[in-house]
């Protein structure tokens, strides 16, 4: 493995860690514009994280060590996930350690730890959030897995960078199966990242919250890590979407400094468009009642399975 490949690997991870709050800020800004509000600063998420790191942590009296460890585990899982996803180059050395199924497993690990931590204090909101998060997760996770399956059937591998590379270098063709799975993936992305219509990142209204309910007892650095991990998760999901559905522009094949350099603005451009798209989706849809969420996710699951069937029927 060449030095450049390792450099790409490191660059991708660092880019993910540092750009994730920016992407979140961009989505929030677009949302504000679309809703005729004055937009907050693009850098607001960074300021929030910085502020939290500078505070004394307050732990609830009944908190066990699990509660303190969970933010680190969740953050670690998200960073490891970022190392698998080809956002700029596909020649990643870490690819051989974990494929797309392991990626889904990493997301599941983060979710399980977050839910366990939410149950740790024993408040009504914590357990409510944990229960709802697991409810969203158990439907979203298989849907994501099936989406990845369709892509891996098209490219005969489950390693995500290889999927992206093969999809990018094949002759451009319209895959009907990918169209179905793209819909499914978008729905999963919205649900998994606590966006409208499943959850609302901007509310603490107890009847509706999922993600925020789990973080209620966290403060200071623990909260900062959790929020950063959430931003990373959104960034990771966006990059999975790019790898599966718009893989063009990433540097493929042999590591090449010029291609890598070129892929950076391409990634930023993709993220900018994705942010607008996400904000638009969130603005035009309404928040669902919690009991509608399983239907929403079951639809996503069905779309993914439909994509699989279409692929098996048509071979494309």
């Amino acid at each position: 493995m060449s030095g450049l490949a390792w450099f790409t690997q490191l660059l991708e991870v660092l880019a993910a860690i540092s750009l994730a709050p920016l992407f979140l800020g961009w989505v929030n800004q677009c949302r504000a514009w679309l809703q005729n509000r004055r937009a907050p600063s693009l850098l607001l998420p960074y300021r929030g994280i910085r502020k939290l790191f500078h505070k004394d942590a307050v732990l609830a009296e009944g908190a066990s060590p699990l509660f303190r460890a969970a933010p680190y585990v969740v953050f670690g899982a998200m960073v490891a996930a970022a190392a698998i996803i080809p956002s700029m180059g596909t020649g990643l050395p870490f690819t051989t350690a974990a494929d797309a199924i392991a990626l889904v497993g990493l997301f599941a690990t983060a979710r399980v730890f977050m839910s366990l931590a939410a149950m740790d204090i024993g408040t009504a909101f914590g357990t409510l959030g944990a229960r709802r998060e697991m409810m969203v997760g158990f439907l979203a996770e298989p849907a994501l897995l099936i989406v990845i399956f369709v892509a891996s059937l098209l490219s005969a591998t489950t390693a995500l960078p290889l999927i992206a590379e093969r999809l990018a270098t094949q002759a451009p063709a319209l895959y009907p199966s990918l169209a179905f799975t793209a819909v499914a993936f978008t729905m999963v992305l919205l649900a998994e990242n606590a966006r409208i219509p499943v959850d609302n990142p901007a509310t603490h209204l107890e009847l509706t919250m999922i993600h925020e309910a789990m973080l209620l007892e966290y403060s200071a650095r623990h909260l900062a890590l959790m929020e950063w991990a959430a931003a990373l998760k959104l960034f990771n999901y966006a990059c999975i979407g790019f790898a599966l559905f718009v893989p063009w522009g990433a540097s493929t094949g042999e590591p090449d400094p010029a291609a890598l350099l070129l892929s950076m603005p391409v990634l930023v451009g993709k993220l900018a468009v994705a942010g607008v798209w996400l904000a638009l989706l969130e603005t035009v849809s309404a928040k669902l009642r919690v009991f509608r969420a399983p239907e929403f996710l079951a639809t996503a699951f069905m779309f993914a399975v439909l994509g699989l069937l279409v692929h098996l029927l048509l071979g494309a």
């Binding site: 960073v79 490891a80 350690a97 690990t109 009504a124 357990t127 099936i146 007892e217 399983p294």
Partner: protein, 667 residues
């Protein structure tokens, strides 16, 4: 250096050792200290020995011996081959952890005397060993029935309670229905030679119809023991009734003997299974997996929850067996090997994880006297050892990397992913959809396990009595550590495990999982597909990130940590009853999968002085299958009851008529 004993002799010595250890307990039946602190640890040592012998000799050729016990002309044939060695290693390794735990677990109490319990326990272990060694139908059935009866007595060790007696009866009943099917299957397999050694069965030529019938009977018979739908009903009754180490053994090891039986009959005795047979276990397995996990989510008794989770895992195992049959039948050897490896791997994994979880519930039960999830909570503070070690099992069985549950799930999903290459129309389209169900079941398993761990160990204690809960004793901890360590190691070194399983797959389907040129820390079961998984690297990356983050956070931002009451959105009077109960946590699943359950709900009205909410979640299969069946059997029995006149003259008449009829036939 030539070892003194051949591996088979060593196995026999060790199995006999178990029987001797068990019998020694009868010398001092009432002495808990002697039985628990001396004999059970001895049994655990024998288990370790068995695992070492079986594991060390995995790749050696098969060896056999004929024991001159049994009926005249029907000696016991025993044989040690890679398949039996794999399962013997599983038996030894998992039972070692359970036995050492049991040494600390069994105390003075009501029910069976400790010495008798020890005898039953070790007889159970030894009979499982003989099931795996048996090389003729007679020895197999003797061992199989000994296993069933020994475990029946273990299940009913608290025989004072009527519900435990009825749970035991249900278990024994289904075990015997299954045993009859297995016996019939052997009857077909001998193929008219009337030789009941397995060698004769391997040599017998069966017509495709008879072979399919033998496979079907074996699947039903072993499926009844394993808990395959619709014969799963005994598991959620028997597991909570049994003492925890016994539940651990039954769920972790005994269910695997059924998996062993199916593998033995299908790939060894029948030889060349037809590809379409595999569809039956795939469909049944998927249904069982989904059914088991959905029911597990609705349970409020922690051992019932684990029992349903075992049903799910059995479903996954049978799905893998079915896939292996399909792939093998159509000549896709690499994928057949992959599916078979996934089955064997998952069998070993499940033995460790489920034993660990059952022992964890045992420790909780001991400390609190509660099995009901609604009366537990917050035990991580009082029982840190049990809680953290159970957490390992929870994460493993939820299929999270880098632990062992993920590896077998990964292998199975990879096998599913290529099932569209099966050259049969429709099948190649429907089979990959099974991956969706496996994924759904795995995700639901995580839901169930979060519920289990969160409600038992996290949050606030739901009862005041829990404040006095004590952590597990030293022997119990040792058992838990052993099993948790197994989960971690099996998760981190998959390539070594799969290499070790190579001899078994060679024996069953004649090919080894290719390792290619990949390094020792990487799992690459399909070299031409470029899929790989390296748990050690994954773990290292996460560990590096964890360490860096915590160092940075602590060094750069040196801020204090304060303790304060929980915030809970500013609500000041938080109490333990505001947390989700087990019912509450399972509610979304009950809501989404309504069709699976038969539910009776009693809702309080707004004006009730003492409001009560009661919900009973039942299994529809009871009503659809067992109640009509039981009714019919009862009616037939009733209609035959007139034969029993209760007068001696009537019975003498029957004897006379029978004699005359027989004479008429003979003459």
């Amino acid at each position: 250096m030539e070892p003194v004993l051949s591996p088979l002799d060593a196995c026999l010595v060790l199995l006999t050792g178990w029987i001797v250890v068990g019998a020694a307990g009868m010398l001092r039946r009432g002495n808990v200290v002697f039985v628990a602190r001396v004999l059970f640890p001895l049994g655990a040592l024998i288990g370790v020995g068995l695992a070492v012998v079986a594991g060390w000799s995995l790749a050696l050729p098969a060896e056999r011996v004929t024991l001159l016990i049994g009926l005249p002309d029907l000696p016991f044939h025993l044989r040690l081959d890679p398949l039996s060695r794999t399962f013997l290693a599983l038996l030894g390794a998992a039972s070692a952890g359970v036995s050492i735990f049991a040494g600390g677990y069994f105390r003075k109490g009501q029910g069976t005397a400790p010495g008798v319990l020890g005898l039953q326990y070790h007889l159970f272990l030894a009979s499982m060993g003989f099931v795996l060694l048996a090389d003729d139908a007679y020895a197999f059935m003797v061992a199989w029935e000994t296993m069933a009866v020994a475990s029946y007595f273990l299940v009913t060790s608290q025989h004072g309670l009527p519900e435990i007696r009825s749970a035991g009866f249900l278990y024994l009943l289904i075990a015997h229905v299954g045993a009859i099917a297995i016996l019939l299957s052997f009857g077909i397999l001998q193929g008219g030679t009337w030789q009941f050694t397995f060698d004769a069965m391997r040599a017998a030529e069966l017509s495709p119809t008879w072979a399919a019938a033998a496979f079907g009977l074996a699947l039903f018979g072993f499926g009844a023991k394993a808990g395959l739908l619709p014969t799963h009903v005994w598991l959620p009754e028997a597991h909570p009734a049994a003492p925890s180490p016994v539940s651990a053994l039954m769920s972790g090891v005994m269910l695997k003997t059924a998996v062993y039986g199916v593998l033995r009959v299908t790939f060894d005795l029948l030889g060349e299974p037809a590809w379409w047979w595999g569809l039956v276990p795939v469909v049944l397995g998927l249904a069982t997996a989904l059914f088991g996990v959905v029911f597990a989510a609705a349970q409020t008794d922690m051992k019932r929850l684990l029992a349903y989770s075992s049903i799910e895992n059995i479903g996954v195992l049978f799905t893998g067996i079915g896939l292996a049959i399909v792939f093998h039948g159509v000549g896709m050897q690499a994928l057949a090997t992959l599916a078979l490896v996934a089955v064997l791997y998952h069998a070993v994994n499940h033995a460790f994880m489920k034993s660990l979880l059952f022992l964890g519930t045992g420790a909780v039960l001991h400390a609190t006297g509660e099995r009901n999830l609604g009366r537990l909570g917050g035990l991580i503070h009082r029982m840190p050892w049990v809680a953290w070690l159970t957490l390992v099992g929870v994460l493993a069985i939820s299929g999270l990397p880098p632990l062992n549950g993920f590896v077998s799930e990964w292998l199975l999903l990879q096998a599913f992913l290529f099932s569209h290459e099966v050259p049969h129309p429709f099948v190649n389209m429907l089979l990959p959809l099974g991956a969706a169900i496996v994924a759904l079941a795995a995700a639901l398993a995580a839901y169930v396990m979060v519920k289990f761990f969160g409600v038992v160990f996290l949050g606030q204690p739901r009862e005041p009595g829990l404040a006095h809960a004590h952590d597990a004793g030293r022997l119990e901890r040792l058992g838990l550590v052993w099993l948790a360590l197994g989960c971690v190691l099996l998760g981190l070194f998959p390539a070594q495990v799969i290499d070790a399983l190579g001899a078994t797959t060679t024996q069953l389907i004649g090919s080894v999982p290719p390792q290619g040129a990949s390094p020792w820390w990487m799992l690459a079961p399909l070299p031409d597909r470029q899929v790989s998984y390296a748990p050690l690297v994954l773990l290292a990356v996460i560990a590096v990130v964890l360490a860096t983050t915590s160092v940075v956070v602590r060094r750069v931002y040196r801020r204090d940590v304060r303790r304060a009451p929980a915030w809970d959105c500013g609500f000041a009077r938080v109490d333990a009853r505001m947390q989700d109960t087990a019912e509450g946590f399972g509610q979304p699943i009950r809501h989404i999968f309504q069709g699976f359950f038969s539910m009776e709900r009693e809702l309080p009205s707004a004006f009730d002085r003492a409001p009560r909410y009661r919900v009973v979640v039942g299994d529809r299969i009871w009503r659809l299958v067992y109640e009509p069946l039981g009714g019919r059997v009862q009616r037939i029995a009733d209609s035959l009851a007139w034969l029993q006149q209760g007068r001696i003259s009537a019975y003498l008449t029957y004897s006379f008529v029978t004699l005359v009829t027989l004479l008429a036939v003979v003459l």
